[in-house]
C-alpha cells in the first residue's frame, strides 16, 4: 500500500483557502488600524482633493 494513498490536495480549494486567509488578514489589519477611528475618510486613488465622507450608518437600536 502506498504511503501517499490520500490523493492530492485540490489546488482550487487551496486557492480558496488562501483567498479567505488574505481576506481575514486584510480585515484584521483594517480593524486594528481603525480601532480609534473618528469617521475620517482616507482615499489614495489619484491625486484629486478628497471630499467630505458619505454619511455613516445610523447606530443600531
Amino acid at each position: 500500500m502506498s504511503e501517499y494513498d490520500g490523493g492530492t490536495m485540490s489546488r482550487k480549494l487551496g486557492a480558496l483557502v488562501l483567498a479567505m486567509g488574505i481576506l481575514v488578514g486584510a480585515m484584521g489589519i483594517k480593524t486594528v488600524l481603525s480601532s480609534n477611528s473618528k469617521g475620517t475618510v482616507m482615499m489614495a486613488n489619484g491625486p484629486a482633493p478628497i471630499p467630505l465622507p458619505p454619511p455613516s450608518p445610523p447606530p443600531q437600536p
Binding site: R11, K12, G14, A15, L16, L18, A19, M20, I22, L23, G25, A26, M27, I29, K30, L33, S34, S35, N36, S37, K38, T40, V41, M42, M43, A44, N45, G46, P47, A48, P49, I50, P51, L52, P53, P54, P55, S56, P57, P58, Q60
Partner: protein, 231 residues
C-alpha cells in the same frame, strides 16, 4: 476650490499617470503591462472628470462626493486587477494562472460581500457607502496581496528588474496608505488627508514611470541583491 498646493499635486499626479502610459507605448511594453496601463488610463480620465465636476460644483458638493467615491471604487477594482496581473507575471512559469484567477474572483466577491455586510444597515445612500467601504477594504486586501507577492518574488528568485521595481513601488504605496490610515485615526490630523493622500496618488505613477524609463524588459537584477532564501 482647493488651494494652489492641492492643484499642483493634482496636475503633477495626472501628468505622471499619463507619462507612464506614454513610456509604455514608446518602450513597446503597453500590452505586456496592459492592466497597469489600463488602471492609469482610467485614473487619468477620472482625474479630468473630477476636475470638471469640482470646477462646476465645488469640492464639498454632493455631485463631487458621489463622483469621487464611485470613481474611486472603480479605480480600486482596476488596481486590484492590475495587481492580479502582476501575480500572473511572477507565477507564469508555474502554470498557476487558473488558480490565481479563481482566487482573485473569490477574493473580490468576498470583499464585496464583507463591505455590503458592513453598510447594509444604512438604507439611505447605501450605494455610496458601499462604494466607499469597498474601496477601503480593497486597499487592505491589496496590501496583504502585495506582501504575499513580494514573498513569491523572493522565493522564486525573480530577477526581472522592471517587475521587481513595480511590485516594490506598489508595496511602498500600500504600506504608506496603511500608515497614513493609522496616523489619521490615532492623531486625527487633517493635513495627512489633505496633502499626503494626494501625494501618495502621485508617487505610484511616478515610480512606475521611472521604472519604465530606466529599465528595459531585458534588464535583470543580480540575484544576490534580493534577500537570499533557500529553495
Amino acid at each position: 476650490m482647493p488651494g494652489p498646493i492641492d492643484l499642483i499635486i493634482w496636475f503633477l499626479g495626472t501628468a505622471f499617470e499619463l507619462l507612464f502610459v506614454v513610456c509604455s507605448v514608446t518602450r513597446k511594453s503597453f500590452l505586456r503591462y496592459f492592466f497597469l496601463n489600463l488602471y492609469l488610463l482610467i485614473s487619468t480620465i477620472v482625474s479630468i472628470g473630477r476636475f470638471l465636476i469640482l470646477w462646476s460644483y465645488g469640492q464639498h458638493s454632493g455631485q463631487y462626493m458621489y463622483f469621487y467615491f464611485y470613481s474611486d471604487a472603480l479605480l480600486t477594482v482596476a488596481l486590484f486587477v492590475a495587481l492580479i496581473s502582476l501575480y500572473s507575471h511572477v507565477l507564469g512559469e508555474l502554470s498557476a494562472g487558473e488558480y490565481v484567477k479563481w482566487g482573485a474572483v473569490f477574493l473580490l466577491l468576498g470583499t464585496a460581500g464583507f463591505s455590503y455586510a458592513v453598510v447594509a444597515r444604512s438604507t439611505e445612500r447605501l450605494s455610496t457607502s458601499f462604494a466607499y467601504e469597498l474601496s477601503q477594504n480593497l486597499y487592505f486586501v491589496g496590501l496583504v496581496l502585495t506582501y504575499i507577492l513580494w514573498g513569491a518574488v523572493l522565493k522564486l528568485r525573480e530577477t526581472r528588474t522592471r517587475l521587481v521595481q513595480i511590485i516594490l513601488s506598489l508595496g511602498l504605496y500600500f504600506s504608506a496608505y496603511a500608515a497614513s490610515y493609522a496616523l489619521v485615526n490615532f492623531s486625527g490630523k487633517i493635513i495627512i488627508i489633505r496633502y499626503i493622500c494626494p501625494a501618495l496618488g502621485c508617487f505610484l505613477p511616478l515610480s512606475w514611470s521611472l521604472t519604465m524609463l530606466r529599465y528595459t524588459d531585458e534588464s535583470r537584477l543580480v540575484p544576490a541583491r534580493l534577500v537570499a532564501v533557500p529553495r
